[in-house]
């Protein structure tokens, strides 16, 4: 059976499973999604959190970034997983004790201010929209490949499916659906990784295979071979980092603080029965995440070897079938600069702009003709980093069912995250913004209507960004982390650990943090992208890492302003005392 038909079957089956679970969990006396959460076991919750958190970026893009950047790419691994420690130690137990559903609710109550709540909602919306845009791009890439359509059509199909899924599946069965999605995506990710590890090293465990010797009798280890290949072609040596220390530190810090500030992950910890379960649940979540995250470097290394071997110095007419298929989606392009009919894959951008602009015509060898201006280096290939995981099974010539599995896994990853984000966006808009701030008298029915409208608007905007992405999926997502770091994390942590921080301080801090970070990112990504390099960066910190500086700025502003304004009222101080003690946490409830 062809990979395309198998993909249809696998994705279809997985969908049937998710919808089945959604219907099944609706039948029970789940009075509400929220209360249902009260009985979720920490292991189950950990698995759901892992699925919620591991997005299309984790599934598709991180391995690609690592494959092309080698050691430099590791900041994403360390940053995203390290944030979990902050989340578990500084936030999860206290927010669970607080016992409400949304992050703006905590900030609104802790800082006894509607303004603080509104500012938190704005921060949250910024973060969630950026994040969901990455998911749409991811779904788009999956559909464009396995339906063999243009990437933009793929994004539109993805939008339609996410929309139906969010409405049909509802939010009630979300926990158990996400458990199923975790199983699908981890299986889909591990199978090709194990295949590739065996193929190159005979070692069935990819994590160990990465450090192993190659089985081709050369006596080289995988890493030595990679270093050799990359150096020979003129790329940066794979295991040697090129990023400056300060930038690495800043990016890691921004990603860590950002992970801990992600609203859709924080809310997960409201759904365990006890405070101690929130801690345990965070541990399980990270363990489940790490099964995949420690495999990613292996996948990256093997796919880099595979890619180079099957493309570089190979005649286009003899190129493997996947090259043409990905070329049709617009994610691979080749321009025969030296007219030898052979693909040269070397460092540097092959043309300007870096993304190919295709004409309708076909070239001498049947390749798609591009209208970009050429650069004068010897690289002839454009390979989109986001295709690495998807293309892997084909590049490694694995059976068709593995290709289909990857498609199902990537869709699961994107859907689980998108659903969690949509829940957060719609509940924030409908509940925090409308019901609790501007229109306290609206009926439940109207609140629901606002929630749906917010979800629709979110999907549309996300789709637009999916079609016109400002960067690669993982980078788009990284910006979201930067904003979460600079705006939401500091007021939550300081609100728990200090009784002196007050309303004025928190609001000023959030605004300064968010605006400064946003301004920096917008300036270097959109207004002046031509000077987006280390020489012009503030202190040598890239836009991806600026969130850490934003967070520091946020803390300073908050502390200083709080010092010169009156302390929080006694009730709030009592509330802080209360959330610091684990005993007596009721079931999370709505007001």
């Amino acid at each position: 059976m062809s990979a395309q038909i198998l993909s249809f079957i696998f994705v279809g089956l997985s969908f049937a499973l998710y919808i089945g679970i959604a219907i099944w969990s609706r039948v029970g006396s789940t009075k509400d999604f929220y209360v249902a959460g009260g009985g979720v076991h920490p292991v189950v919750n950990g698995m759901a959190t892992a699925a919620d958190w591991m997005s299309a970026a984790s599934f598709l893009s991180v391995a690609g970034i690592l494959a092309f950047n080698g050691r430099d790419g590791a900041v994403y691994l360390v940053g995203w997983t390290g944030g979990y420690v902050l989340l578990a130690l500084l936030l999860a137990p206290y927010l669970r004790k607080f016992g409400r559903f949304t992050v703006p609710e905590f900030i609104g109550d802790r800082y006894y201010s509607k303004l603080a709540r509104v500012v938190a909602v704005i921060c949250l919306i910024f973060i969630s929209f950026t994040y969901i845009a990455g998911q749409m791009r991811g779904v788009g890439i999956v559909f464009s490949r396995f339906l063999e359509v243009d990437i933009n059509t793929g994004v539109v199909i993805g939008m339609a499916i996410v929309f139906c899924y969010a409405v049909l599946g509802g939010m009630k069965g979300i926990t158990y659906t996400q458990v199923a999605q975790y199983c699908v995506l981890i299986f889909a990710f591990m199978v090709p990784a194990i295949f590739m590890s065996i193929m190159w090293t005979d070692n069935p465990i990819p994590q160990l295979g990465l450090g192993d010797k190659l089985n081709d009798g050369s006596g080289l280890s995988v890493l030595q071979k990679l270093d050799q290949v990359t150096t020979e072609l003129g790329f940066n040596t794979y295991t040697v980092g090129t990023r400056s220390t300060i930038d690495s530190l800043a990016i890691i810090a921004a990603l860590m603080i950002g992970t801990a500030g992600l609203p859709h992950v924080i809310v997960r910890f409201f759904t365990v029965p006890k405070v101690s379960d929130a801690r345990k649940s965070a541990g399980y979540a990270l363990a489940f995440i790490c099964i995949m995250y420690t495999t990613i470097p292996a996948v990256a290394a093997f796919s880099r070897l595979n890619l180079t071997e099957s493309v570089h110095e190979v005649a286009y007419s003899e190129a493997p079938a996947w090259v043409e298929k990905w070329e049709n989606t617009g994610l691979i392009a080749w321009k025969d600069k030296n007219n030898d009919g052979i693909m040269q894959y070397r460092p540097g951008h092959a043309f300007i702009p870096t993304k190919p602009v295709f004409t309708e015509a076909r070239g001498d060898y049947g390749e798609r003709v591009i209208s970009n201006e050429l650069t004068n280096n010897s690289n002839e290939m454009y390979v989109d980093r986001d295709i690495m995981v998807m293309a892997n099974p084909e590049i490694a010539q694995l059976p068709n069912w593995v290709i289909a599995l990857i498609a199902a896994g990537a869709v699961a990853a994107a859907l689980s995250t998108a659903a969690g984000l949509l829940l957060v966006i719609s509940s924030s808009v409908a509940h925090d913004l409308m019901k609790r701030t501007f229109m306290p008298d609206i009926s439940d029915k109207k609140e629901l209507l606002f929630a749906r409208l917010a979800a629709v608007v979110a999907i549309l905007i996300a789709g637009w960004f999916g079609i016109n992405p400002p960067a690669f999926v993982a980078q788009v997502v990284a910006f979201a982390f930067g904003m979460a770091a600079a705006s939401l994390f500091p007021p939550i942590v300081m609100g728990i650990f200090s009784k002196r921080i007050n309303r004025s301080g928190a609001v000023a801090g959030m605004l300064v943090g968010l605006c400064s970070t946003l301004a920096y990112i917008i300036y270097f990504s959109f207004i002046a992208p031509e000077i987006n390099n280390a020489d012009h960066w503030f202190l040598g910190i890239s836009p991806t890492g600026i969130g850490s500086l934003g967070a520091i700025l946020n803390v300073i502003v908050t502390v200083v302003v709080s010092r010169f304004t009156p302390p929080p009222p006694a009730q709030v101080q009592d509330m802080i005392d209360d959330i610091r003690i684990p005993a007596g946490a009721g079931v999370a409830h709505e007001h």
């Binding site: 691994l77 137990p93 016992g99 280890s221 995988v222 006890k274 420690t294 470097p297 709030v572």
Partner: protein, 139 residues
Amino acid sequence: MNHSTNSKGQPKDGCRVYHHDDAENLPPHSHHDKETLSEVNVQSYWRANVKVLTVLLSLWALVSFGCGVLFSDWLDQFNLGGFPLGFWFTQQGTMLCFVAIIFIYHIWMKKIERAHGVDDDEGSIDNHPTNQTGTGAQP
């Protein structure tokens, strides 16, 4: 409402009592308004908690910023299962340490909470009679 709303609440019988129904301007945030815990326990619990956090977060910073970035190149001179050690930390090692840190935190805190009588175990009410109401047993 028999208790002063002054947050610094004058200690009565050397024991400060939290009354959350004092917080009438706020929506109730947990269902244990009559719960009382002695101040001594709560304060020493919080100090122990902060100590745990300091130790574990130092470890966390050492692993991620230290092994992951600052001493990463230096660690490369050692070898672990075919990996240069620094490279291994950036690709796998830090993450395994993170998982360990969270589970250590969970176990350590559980111990401290039991010792201070502020834990949320089922039936723990019997262990510390000052805790008057149920602990998470609400419907």
